[in-house]
Symmetry: C2
Subunit: 303 residues, 2 copies
């Protein structure tokens, strides 16, 4: 089960209503923060997400609108008495910035912060657990930036209980079937594994791509993703501004989703020049119908 | 004319509703920010205050809940195209922190930041304009901290136009009266200045005192202040916690107001343990009747 809760959907200039980039990826009740624009801790409270639940934090790049909310959050976790180490994945020079923060503001933080450098030029696994893995996704921005691809691992095979009964399978035969092997009955009959087992649920995937210009390579790397979050800072009227600043238009975001064969597309990181994101949604849907606006406070389930 | 708009009223742990310390002091439409907890720029938008209007920023101390909102605000001012230099008054080691911010996040900010160090051990004037001055106010906190006393200068004397007519004053005599001098008429009669002039409006004052333990010396230094903002982090049930952490109870805040003979008291910086600040208000009013809760988004005029 994977869910994404949007905490911030604006680009660098926040408004009275919208917050800069931040979202929660919830994988089987393990919570990860992806980017941390100003106000992220308050947005978590508003969404009923306890910051102490965070297992790790992924920072795409070191522009302030993606990271200024991190430091107050880290301080608050200290006030809340967190002792469990916290892993943060971020590009260089995050380590130096973190040292400055700890030196000037939190010289006695009660928990360890374990920083893992994200190589923004490589598409590689950077985190792995029993059930899922996270890959870096090189982005094309005005400074080094990486998206993140969250992929559930295929679930273990379940053995059909009616088949166990029908063939009178013993424990050894059931374990073999769960491993994916065919089963040989006492009379020599071979039962193919596919007849005995089923996949209890499909492994799903989610890609977070912000901030970035259009990248065909990125579309290749997220091929078949179930949900794609792609920045859509501008509409087509500002295509050249988007290119200059290392950003995308809504239709470029949709083009990435189309090429990737994504299940659906969420667009966000809207420029403050668009009072209503409907124009961005229309432009994206003209290219990729399954597009939605990333709405702050809303949770999107990936099935 | 002096007005204070409260942008944040919580202590270090913010909630879904309340923001950490920040307020705007508006003196004759010159806007100053006092402390800059996370979310301050968004709170300014919500209160209809354009961040470009800021003339200067006063930071009481370098705990995150008083300063983490400063850096995103400085970035936004750059995005908005500010070119006018911005003065920031803050204690050491603000200069180093500012250098780190500029180095890692804003190496090409379009305006100058002029930092003035506030000596947190001295009660001295730190800023002066034609109409008002700002004094530092040493506070008793867990690290060096200074409050700020905003004092309007006495307005120039106005000469009563009926008296000008009655005595047939010429320009030289009017100017002498405005300077506060008595006027000698052509027949040798001396008209005392007090008969000719009046003060068009009373000079008012405002003191911001957060964070601090109770200080009798502070009460002396703000004697006669028209409005006192004093932190009231805790209620009496937590008096010893307040003392340990360099904070005040509501009744201690009120005791400072009482000793100072303040016109009125605003209390804020409430601990998140108080879901309702009414208990703090009650305890303060028992000592100093003219106490009010600092409510976010509300503007308090000082008359």
């Amino acid at each position: 089960m994977m869910k994404v809760t949007i905490l911030g959907s604006s680009s660098a200039k926040p408004s009275a209503e919208l917050h800069p980039s931040a979202q929660i990826v919830n994988i089987d009740e393990q919570y990860f923060l992806v980017d941390a624009g100003e106000g992220v801790q308050q947005q978590m409270f508003r969404c009923g997400i306890n910051p102490l639940k965070l297992r790790g934090i992924f920072i795409s790049h070191l522009h302030g609108d993606h990271v200024f909310g991190l430091f107050p959050l880290l301080s608050t976790l200290g006030l809340y008495g967190r002792v469990m180490p916290l892993r943060i994945f971020a590009p260089q020079p995050f380590g130096e910035i973190l040292q400055g923060f700890l030196h000037y503001f939190e010289s006695r933080l009660g928990y360890e912060i374990e920083w893992t450098e994200v190589d923004t030029t490589a598409h590689v696994p950077i985190f792995e657990s029993k059930c899922f893995e996270v890959w870096s996704l090189p982005l094309r921005h005005s400074l080094r930036a990486s998206g993140f691809l969250f992929r559930e691992k295929p679930a273990a095979l379940n053995v059909d209980k009616f088949k166990i009964e029908r063939y009178g399978l013993n424990i050894c035969q059931i374990v073999a079937a769960k491993r994916g092997e065919d089963v040989i009955l006492d009379d020599g009959t071979v039962i193919p594994n596919s007849e005995l087992t089923y996949i209890p649920r499909r492994a799903v995937s989610y890609a977070y791509c912000s901030d970035t210009s259009f990248s065909a390579k990125l579309a290749e790397r997220v091929r078949g993703v179930d949900m794609l979050y792609h920045e859509a800072t501008y509409a087509e009227d500002s295509r050249s501004v988007a290119a200059e600043r290392g950003h995308s238009t809504a239709s470029q975001a949709a083009e990435v989703a189309r090429r990737a064969g994504a299940g659906r597309l969420l667009i966000g990181h809207f420029s403050s020049r668009y009072k209503e994101p409907q124009i961005l949604l229309q432009e994206a849907r003209a290219v990729f119908a399954e597009t939605e606006i990333a709405v702050e406070g809303r949770t999107y389930e990936i099935k």
